[in-house]
Amino acid sequence: MISHGLTRLSLRVRGKLTCILTTMTSIGTGYDLSASTYSPDGRIFQVEYANKAVENSGTAIGLRVKDGVVLAVEKLIHSKLLVPGANRRIQTVDRHIGMASAGLLADSRKISQLARDSGAQTRKQWKEPLTVKALSDTVSWNAQTYTLYSSVRPFGVSTIFGGVDKSGPSLYIVEPSGVCLGYHGAAVGKGRQLAKTELEKLKLSELSMREAVMEAARIIYLVHDDNKEKEFELEMTWVGVESNDLHLPVPADLLEEAKKKAKDALETFE
């Protein structure tokens, strides 16, 4: 009896060890072949791989402040042959809503198309502009659908939706799993940990949009890893009182000022 009990115990220990190993690789177990299959410990590996695709991408952040929303992206430039400003990662969904994404750019194009259709649909049916909450709900519902079938893969993007609607400034993230949550400060992509730490230090609900632009630029410059990464472009847009509630690029002069301040702040940091 005793020896039997011991055998079972050791098996369980081995089982646990295997589990830890699969956390790191999980390759060859067969549970990662399809988004429609759980692993025995209740995970869906395809969704986690999709998150890896997000983590490989340059950081995107969003700040929901007193009178608007600011979106900023660290767009890594993988070739010097690219035209400056090409492959935008912040897109306009509707007059009053923008989205910044981290992950597979092609997937984010599909999401923006979906989002725009949703805006058009709402206007047609209700004769009023879409709210950011309703939009993120629609998109997340769709993203979730892509975690259910073996014939499809989940979206390889985390998307930050920011805008101003009848309930004021709003900011949401939709993840590959289909999770959708509202935030005061949002960060996705490679440098999200450090960015979140920086965002937490700010009093976001008291910041003006202009201050938020400065902070956003500073954070993007801070999280960019000079040693590891190549060049990057700072993309930044805003929606709120400063832009007459339209989703527009931050004016060039303000962007330059923010960049300069960000570089200065970088030298004094740590």
Binding site: T92, V93, D94, R95, A120, R123
Partner: protein, 266 residues
């Protein structure tokens, strides 16, 4: 079993030509029918209508005027309708004719504008593009025998150039330095031409406003579907501005001297 005695002894279907006695092209069709085929009706007349729109070119751009009335036949039904509509940052579109069709046009143009904004390609729609789009839309609809029952004036100012052009329910287009739709095309157009033609680069904003106000006054006196409450849109390098509704001074003392119809016996 046919339970109607009146049908007994008769062919089951008079339309069915069992012995092919009809020439082929007259042979009765006995297949499935669209019950509602005769029920489909296209717009044959406008219902709730706006009357004239006036527009002129002047020194700094284009100025347009239209009153706030939407009539239901001869009834002055809605008195707070805005018939001048801004599209994008450079264009105003003024509509006469069916107001529900105009509202539909506004919706279409709103969708178009948002599509253009979200393209983020550095291009913006100007009056030329919007006029071309509307002319294609109006002509396509008339070709489907289902026109949008409007006459539209499209005016704008972009890249230092003013633009003023017309398009109607048939898809007909033309441009001139003065344009008028509806009753105004008969009553106001000659007045506008006299005041504006040849002087497009001289007329100041105040002068242009006066020209339009004078024509609107004449129209109010003459056009039984008009109203003394109207708006003026100015489109210049400063952008688009559509005024609040305003009224004109009119005098009706001459009315009692009119003879020939009405209650008087003399």
């Amino acid at each position: 079993m046919d339970h109607f005695p009146t049908n007994w002894g008769r062919p089951r279907n008079d339309a069915f030509d069992a012995y092919a006695t009809y020439p082929i092209h007259q042979r009765p069709y006995n297949g499935p029918k669209d019950t509602f085929a005769d029920g489909v009706q296209r717009t044959q007349q406008p219902i709730v209508t706006g009357t004239s729109v006036l527009a002129i070119k002047y020194k700094d751009g284009v100025m347009m005027a239209a009153d706030n009335l939407a009539s239901y036949g001869s009834l002055a039904r809605f008195k707070d309708v805005q018939r001048l509509h801004q599209v994008g940052n450079y264009t105003v579109i003024g509509a006469g004719g069916d107001m529900s069709d105009f509202q539909y046009i506004q919706y279409i143009l709103e969708e178009l504008s948002i599509d253009e904004i979200s393209a983020q390609d550095g291009h913006e729609l100007g009056p030329i593009e919007i006029h071309e789009y509307m002319s294609q839309l109006m002509y396509a609809r008339r070709s489907k025998m289902n026109p949008l029952w409007n006459s539209l004036l499209i005016g704008g100012f972009k890249d230092g150039k003013r633009f003023l052009s017309y398009v109607d329910l048939l898809g007909t287009t033309y441009s001139a330095s003065t344009l008028a739709t509806g009753y105004g095309a008969f009553i106001a157009q000659p007045l506008l031409r006299k005041a504006v033609e040849g002087r497009e680069d001289v007329i100041t904003e105040e002068e242009a406003r006066k020209i339009l106000e004078d024509s609107m006054r004449v129209l109010f006196y003459r056009d039984a579907r008009s109203m003394n409450k109207f708006q003026i849109a100015t489109i210049s390098s400063a952008g688009v501005s559509i005024s609040d509704s305003m009224q004109l001074e009119t005098a009706w003392s001459f009315a009692e001297n009119i003879r020939g119809y009405g209650a008087q016996t003399q």
